[in-house]
């Protein structure tokens, strides 16, 4: 009997598709079959301008009636300039005039029938959507949505901050369990996506920002450092819009946890490649995890026969797993047994569990834990690596 468990995808080669669209209707600027790079603008649209409301009745201190309505000089759809007279009402046989002017340059969006309010709208603003990943256009939808595809190395993190960016993969010269200090940040790393290490200090992040990196992928981060980096304490795992100098992704969790060897190997293997990174995370309601996408060169895009299998989300004896809950948080191991019957925990709960042989111990791990030790863990606290 198989059991599906959570897993974060880490693979050297897979087919990825991404849909690119705007919040407003737009127009696709590419065609099916086109090759695009990360910076190619694929969709363009317009956001309507804000509306400023003018109330001639209130401004002139008169009721809105047929006489006032007849004094309107503009209609819906007219373009107006700032200061242009919208309403001119004449009194005393034309000797006295009262006017209402447009407060802005724009166009007349509406004139209400009931009170005669005039909505003057700012000009529309152009908005664009870039490709974000280098690949091929495989679909265009009405309304301007574009579907892109590529064969890429793909790494999902567990949590991140910062939006979409791109850069060149540069592995840090660090062991997976080494903390990331300022000295580890290469002097020449502008435009890079730095990868490796366990947990950065705030000074390391500031150094990286000063040197112009676009992203960093590491094992973990402390809450304090993250708050100093992002400027606020994050209470719910819904991110992507933070005003951060570069996108930061952690692959293991909060604390001081080494990056998994497998993740490190995949990123090391692609050193020098152009990658896309997004720290956007949404744990609930349509889960979204942060990601690094490293497309293979055009010559290696290939067909399905070149695609490795992504790790299947099935827990089996022999599966390599990550333990995701205290007291074994961050430890890696191999599943040795999957008992059928639920076991009692010291909390009183009866759960289905797995017996896991520990592979490595995190820095600061309890002295009673040794590599090779067999521990019993609820299946809910296991993640496939």
């Amino acid at each position: 009997m198989t059991q599906l468990v959570p897993s974060l995808i880490v693979t050297d080669r897979t087919v990825l598709r991404r849909r690119r669209e705007l919040a407003v209707p737009g127009k696709a600027l590419v065609a099916a079959g086109d090759n695009v790079s990360v910076d190619t603008v694929v969709v363009r649209g317009e956001i309507p301008g804000e509306i400023v409301t003018v109330s001639p009745s209130e401004s002139l201190g008169v009721p809105f009636d047929a006489r006032l309505r007849a004094a309107y000089l503009v209609r819906e759809g007219d373009t107006v300039t700032k200061g242009q007279v919208l309403v001119r009402q004449k009194h005393l046989w034309g000797l006295v005039q009262a006017t209402v002017e447009s407060p802005i340059d724009g166009s007349i969006s509406f004139i209400t029938h009931d009170q005669g309010r005039i909505g003057v709208q700012y000009p529309a603003r152009a908005v664009e959507r870039r490709a974000y990943l280098g690949g091929k256009v495989v679909g265009i939808e009405q309304g301007g949505a574009v579907e892109l595809e590529c064969v890429a190395s793909f790494v999902q993190g567990v949590f991140g901050v910062g939006g979409e960016r791109s850069g060149t993969i540069i592995p840090l010269s660090l062991a997976v369990d080494a903390p990331i200090e300022p000295a580890a940040i290469p002097s020449n790393c502008e435009g890079a996506i730095l990868c490796g290490g366990s947990s950065p200090t705030i000074d390391a992040l500031r150094t990286a920002a000063k040197r112009g990196v676009q992203g960093m992928v590491c094992g973990s981060v402390s809450a304090e450092v993250l708050q100093a980096f992002s400027g606020s304490d994050i209470g719910v795992a819904v991110t992507g819009d933070e005003p951060v100098p570069f996108s930061l992704i952690i692959t293991e969790g909060f604390g001081c946890v080494p990056m998994a060897e497998r993740t490190h190997r995949v990123l090391q293997h692609r050193a020098g490649s152009v990658a896309s990174i997004s720290g956007a995370t949404q744990v609930r309601a349509g889960a979204m995890r942060p990601e690094i996408i490293i497309p293979w060169p055009a010559a290696e895009q290939g067909g399905l026969n070149k695609v490795d299998e992504a790790p299947r989300a099935e827990l089996r004896v022999g599966s390599e797993v990550r333990l995701i809950r205290y007291p074994y948080f961050g430890l890696l191991g191999i599943v040795r047994e999957l008992p059928e019957q639920p076991i009692p925990l010291e909390t009183g709960a009866h759960v289905r569990a797995a017996k896991v042989e520990l592979k490595a111990i995190a820095p600061g791990g309890a002295s009673s834990l040794v590599a090779g030790l067999l521990v019993v863990v609820p299946r809910a606290n296991i993640e496939l690596v």
């Binding site: 409301t53 509406f110 209470g235 795992a237 909060f254 995370t281 995701i324 007291p327 909390t347 709960a349």
Partner: protein, 607 residues
């Protein structure tokens, strides 16, 4: 006359949740008492690829049939059945285990009823609009008010992203401000929000603001929305009327939202009564039970992402007032990071025993909680880790009660708002509607409370989290059937109340603590004698908490608290005795709690 009229009644009720559809079959025994004959459940099928909620409901019905041996459904009918009579077999005196009298349902599938509300001032119309929505069982996705710093462009983008089921637009007293509701209407016009279900349908907008511009608002929005106009929720600053807006929300929920959600048109045809939003039904159960038993009640359902709080308290005129709030940012998994953020690690740590605090630094505990946020389906494996979650639960309950008190007002009486009210000056508990000194019973629901391995832990989370005082009976909801009972209460209120008491609620104990203690009282000083059914059972001493169980467990009787001297007030005044009749002592017995309400710590509790 139907041949079923002499047969014990049989009613099937479902709750179509976001992930699971739970069915309960209620039946009358020969003596007229009601019980739950069977339970069934199946995955909810409102999302793609099935996209028909009736498929999941039928699966749940079939499980009921298999487990109970009762035949409910006409064979071969389910595909085409559009009414109760088409789907269900009628009762038959000759075959008692065949047929059904009524089918009822609640729903929170697809995330439940999701609303956007707008009001001019956060403390007035926006507040009233939010409560009208909450009272109808909605989740308030966002609130627009004039004080919001976001620009119109940001709001338009957000409106497109949110996809609310209903928009409630308020603002301006009658004859007062007009600009704000018009500006919001203009933003809606630009955003053209689409509903979640039924892509060709226009989003319904309820306008409950300044009556002077209701026609203008209707006109403005007519190209993109179906507008209903109801009474202004704040016709004047002093007066609030949310009942009409709340009823309009409920009506639109049925006619507009539910009828367009996948399969709900058919489900509504099967149901004998209108389908209710799950939180509204749970709230109705709390309200009807409180009214039937003439008790004040506080009920909290603490989930992974949100905490629902329901309460019924008497107002200044003694009329029971129901309030519901949803703290959408307080929960035990997805929102646990927010509890940490709002409470701070120090407030969470104070609830941990010294041995737990010694084993981990504050930073390690902080990280442990945040790692639960990003891996919300993980479970505590060790007792120590469970204690950390229970400490977080205390803070989530505390914060959700603060939120509840801020919003809970008497909806039918004039509410004079002074500067002190607006700027949040502290007022004595008994001046607030939610007055814990007058609370009769508290009910906890949600996994961390209902499934706590030791009932004492559940009791302590509620006692500490809410800061209970006075004389309060403690219960947990063992199986979360409140939504089912809430919709059942609409047709069989006595049955619902009886089932609530007998099958849903598990009595834990009775908690006694002074509401106020005079200054200068020393630690260990006796504050009051406690008598049960006339016999002295113990003392409440300042600074200590003692549980008295064993002989008292599961008994029901009269409690008397007789203060020693004038050092303590148990709700009747300093030095005044207080009594309550027919108190349920539950599995644990009595909690004699002399700890100050500002208590900051916990150690092993002597029994």
């Amino acid at each position: 006359m139907s041949s079923s009229h002499q047969l014990p009644r049989r009613i099937l009720v479902t709750d179509c949740g976001s992930t699971t559809t739970k069915a309960l079959l209620f039946e009358q025994r020969a003596d007229g008492a009601w019980y739950t004959r069977s339970r069934g459940e199946a995955p909810t099928t409102v999302e793609a690829p099935i996209a028909d909620v009736t498929v999941g409901a039928l699966n749940a019905f079939r499980e009921i049939e298999e487990l109970s041996g009762v035949q409910l459904i006409r064979s071969g009918s389910s595909e085409s059945a559009t009414s109760f009579a088409d789907l269900f077999l009628p009762r038959d005196k000759a075959r008692p285990d065949v047929g059904l009298d009524l089918y009822l349902s609640t729903s929170s599938a697809g995330g439940g009823l999701q609303m956007l509300v707008a009001g001019l001032a956060r403390e007035y119309s926006a507040n009233s609009a939010a409560r009208a929505a909450l009272g109808a069982g909605a989740i308030v996705m966002d609130v627009i008010c004039a004080e919001d710093p976001r620009t119109s462009i940001e709001w338009i983008d957000r409106l497109r992203h949110l996809k609310p089921d209903i928009v409630l637009l308020t603002g301006g007293t009658d004859g007062g401000a007009i600009a704000f509701p018009i500006e919001v209407a203009e933003m809606l016009l630009q955003a053209r929000p689409r509903p979640r279900f039924g892509q060709t349908i226009r989003v319904p907008v309820i306008y409950a603001g300044n009556a002077a511009i209701s026609q203008e608002i209707t006109e403005l929005l007519s190209p993109i929305a179906d507008v209903s106009v109801t009474a202004n929720v704040r016709a004047s600053l002093d007066e609030e009327q949310i009942a009409q807006a709340r009823d309009a929300v409920h009506e639109l929920f049925l006619s507009h939202v539910m009828s367009h959600a996948p399969g709900y048109g058919k489900l509504m045809g099967w149901a004998s009564q209108p389908i209710m939003p799950t939180p509204a039904a749970a709230g109705d159960m709390v309200r009807s039970y409180a009214l039937a038993k003439k008790v004040s009640i506080l009920c909290a359902d603490i989930g992974g992402a949100t905490t629902d709080v329901f309460s019924v308290f008497p107002d200044a005129e003694g009329e029971p007032v129901f309030n519901r709030t949803v703290s959408a940012n307080l929960g035990m998994s997805y929102s646990i990071g927010n509890v940490l953020k709002e409470a701070g690690i120090a407030r969470i740590e104070r609830w941990l025993e010294s041995s737990v605090r010694a084993a981990s630094t504050s930073q390690e505990l902080d990280h442990r909680i945040r790692n639960k946020m990003i891996r919300p389906t993980s479970i505590p494996q060790t007792l120590e880790d469970l204690k950390v979650e229970q400490a977080v639960c205390r803070e989530a309950l505390r914060l959700s009660l603060v939120h509840h008190r801020q919003l809970a007002v008497s909806a039918t009486k004039r509410q004079r708002r002074t500067f002190a009210d607006i700027f949040g000056s502290k007022e004595r508990d008994e001046q607030q509607l939610v007055n814990l000194a007058a609370l009769d019973m508290v009910v906890g629901s949600g996994g961390v409370l209902s499934h706590a391995p030791d009932r004492v832990d559940a009791a302590m989370m509620m006692i500490d989290g809410f800061g209970l005082c006075g004389i309060t009976e403690l219960f947990v909801d063992s199986v979360f059937m409140m939504p089912h009972l809430g919709v059942l209460a609409g047709v069989e209120p006595q049955a619902a109340a009886a089932l609530f008491e007998q099958e849903c609620l598990v009595a834990i104990g009775c908690h006694l603590r002074p509401v106020r203690v005079a200054k200068g009282v020393s630690h260990g000083q006796p504050l009051a004698e406690v008598r049960f059914n006339g016999t002295s059972v113990g003392e409440i001493c300042f600074g200590s908490l003692v549980m008295i169980g064993e002989k008292l467990a599961n008994q029901r009787g009269d409690i008397e608290v007789i203060p020693r001297g004038r050092q303590a007030d148990f709700g009747a005044g300093f030095g005044q005795a207080r009594a309550r009749r027919r108190v349920q002592l539950g599995q644990v017995g009595l909690f004699l709690d002399g700890r100050a309400l500002s208590f900051h710590g916990v150690e092993a509790i002597p029994r």
